[in-house]
Symmetry: C2
Subunit: 179 residues, 2 copies
Amino acid sequence: MRWKEAADQYCSIARALGVLGDRWTLLIMREAFSGVRRFDDFRQHLGVARNVLTDRLQRLVDAGVLERRAYQDNPPRHEYRLTEAGRDLNGVLLALMGWGDRWLTDGSGPPMQVVHRGCDQPITPALVCPDCGEPLTTRNTQLLAGPGLPVQTAKEREAEVERIRAQHAQSEQPSNTEA
Amino acid sequence: MRWKEAADQYCSIARALGVLGDRWTLLIMREAFSGVRRFDDFRQHLGVARNVLTDRLQRLVDAGVLERRAYQDNPPRHEYRLTEAGRDLNGVLLALMGWGDRWLTDGSGPPMQVVHRGCDQPITPALVCPDCGEPLTTRNTQLLAGPGLPVQTAKEREAEVERIRAQHAQSEQPSNTEA
DNA sequence: AGGGTTAGTTGCAAAACGAGACTAAATCGC
DNA sequence: GCGATTTAGTCTCGTTTTGCAACTAACCCT
């Protein structure tokens, strides 16, 4: 995959990563969420090289995640603001933060905490079924082909899943009572 | 930032991205979630270079997200399996997929759909407050310093947030009724 | 013995990145 | 009025990281 092809894949994760999937982009978004709008502030907070920052901001603007707008005319100066699509990345960032809190802690607790206005105390955001409110896990969810997946592709994937499932039989044999 | 420093930052997003934040890693995890365990299957599904895949798998094992275990002895062959930390990335991947579904669609609908066993119909996972069940947005949540953040760092950040908030006053002036 | 399978390693060329110098246009201090 | 400063970049160059293809290793099948 030569990375332009990300958008062509029949997978929203791949598409999303085509926009967001490099070392800096999601950190840039984190800064944007914390209110940063200006080139030099992004640069200093992150320590990212100028040319790289230029490139990433441009991509994010192209992807419709940030908006470049003038905040003064003389001399012309621009700032980068979250669009609605950008604001909608909230969930991705919270999910990442939660995972980091749970698995990459140094023992002193989370560096930052989410507070829900109204409840007014630290929470750990939960990913739930919008219908019944139950938390979603690997075991109680399933990924099925949607309308955006061509039938041919769906069939090929189904066959591949079958082939791989067959491998699992082999691995489970060595006296493993484990799931 | 020279990328070893990710783990040292007082930010769980940065820490998480220190493990997951490159072009391939989250795609590798997507494959792992779909049941893939073997080197050559990862390689063929993703089209990633062998040496890069070797490196990424090793990092994921070091990070405790995947586990490398033998599935046969003669010749020795290994497979890569999700650990509990790996399985817990479910939320991150679902968040990414949801965002991609909403903002990077080609008009034909989502390629894949989440089905909650029990409800048995396609859902869009929701990120909610675990206490009251209300959906979390940028506007009804707040990030505050947690116990893992040194007081000195917290103070510095507070001052910086203040400086940046001052910039916003300038931007809002040009006859913008917008929030 | 020859070919196939699986999980890599190695070497080399191409692309991406990092650091710092440099530019442009206007304002600030004096 | 003049040099320093601010902001948002661009340019250059040396280092890293990738991608690709060839090769290795250890075993199986026929």
